[in-house]
Symmetry: C2
Subunit: 201 residues, 2 copies
DNA sequence: CGTGGCATGTAAACGGTTACATGATTTA
DNA sequence: TAAATCATGTAACCGTTTACATGCCACG
């Protein structure tokens, strides 16, 4: 077994909403999972076809006239079983990839001010992320529901927020520390060049 | 252009230690970057060859008799320049992939107890991670140095710790919440509602 | 003498992104 | 009518992992 995880995300989306098109699945992943998952159309459309082929999802007949319009899919019983089996298996730790931390670690090799600017940029991105997560939180407050899945959605959201908040706090204290460190650094009286100068090579 | 980031990690490692073999580079990445980066031999060895070809690293002559032994490499001036240029460019946000959060989000679809068990497992993994990071911290305390790179290493380490700690705290409070939720859960055979009720628009 | 760690490499397969091509529908 | 958005798909490319092949060396 062990099919691509794209398949399971698609099945999962279909388990929450009865009829979705590839386009909507993509959008739902972006909107709801933006902080911890992503899929491209190039993955989603072929996956949907394959899943339909294997009977895990069912393509809804468009019923309308030709001229290619939205194609919806629904989860089959078989698909739901497959999803549940996957959910029950131990989760895998995805290979970590954090370019920011790499560049921070090698910060001593970079020109003065570079690392500091990266931290500032990280703060900006995390502030945006936090705003997005808070938006989702408030939306779900405005439309309360007794959906039994909701506790899990809220837990997921709160983990995203906890991690973002921790990063933000780290950034705040680091900004102070780093400006001290980089102030001592040799070379360049200028207060940090920005990174916009592109390079060849 | 934008060469693979493997190349820059390799250059970065070589910027800190004058002579390393592919094997040592792999090990150093695992030991030091385990929480935020990874590379396989299948990436490292070809990359080293390519970099040597382009003059960014220099293969040291083994000097000893044949019978294939360790091949060391050193960073060239050109390689250092290349590394610095990369460091100065904005860091990219790697596509997020967190299977745990995916399975947690879909927890309502899983069999009772599944989500809870995933959280317990997350706690275990994060405890191990924290122990590893603390080990690195203590090692660097035991061998103090005036290496000018050290502040950056410590900052990277402290970010890793801050994130792990936050996840651990989230896990602690979640364990309590979740056992309450899952205790109530009826083994409903028929699947639940859709998310449109809470998530319109 | 055998096991485990050190050490180097390659080929195939895979998962995923990107760029591209196409066209319908809605809204300004 | 132009632009934005909805919508579907494919092919090429790329980075990466995996499995495999090889052999040295130290230690018990």
């Amino acid at each position: 077994m062990q099919r691509s995880r794209t398949a399971y995300v698609v099945l999962g989306m279909l388990s929450m909403a009865p009829n979705l098109s590839g386009y909507e699945i993509h959008k739902a992943i972006e909107d709801n999972f933006g902080s911890f998952w992503g899929e491209s159309y190039g993955q989603i459309y072929p996956t949907l076809k394959r899943l339909a082929n294997e009977g895990l999802v069912q393509a809804k007949e468009p019923a309308s006239a030709p001229g290619r319009r939205r194609q919806e899919y629904a989860l089959t019983d078989e698909g739901r079983i497959c999803l549940r089996q996957w959910l029950a298996q131990p989760f895998q730790n995805d290979p970590p990839r954090n370019e920011f931390m790499l560049k921070l670690f090698f910060g001593g090799e970079a020109a003065p001010g570079v690392a500091l600017e990266h931290v500032r940029e990280l703060q900006r991105r995390n502030q945006r992320m936090m705003a997005t997560l808070e938006g989702i939180e408030q939306a779900s407050r405005r439309y309360p529901s007794d959906n039994p899945n909701k506790p899990y959605w809220m837990l997921t959201l709160s983990l995203g927020m906890a991690l973002t908040r921790a990063a933000l706090e780290w950034g705040k204290s680091t900004l102070a520390q780093l400006s001290a460190v980089e102030a001592l650094e040799p070379r360049s009286p200028q207060p940090a060049k920005t990174m916009d100068e592109t390079n060849p090579a």
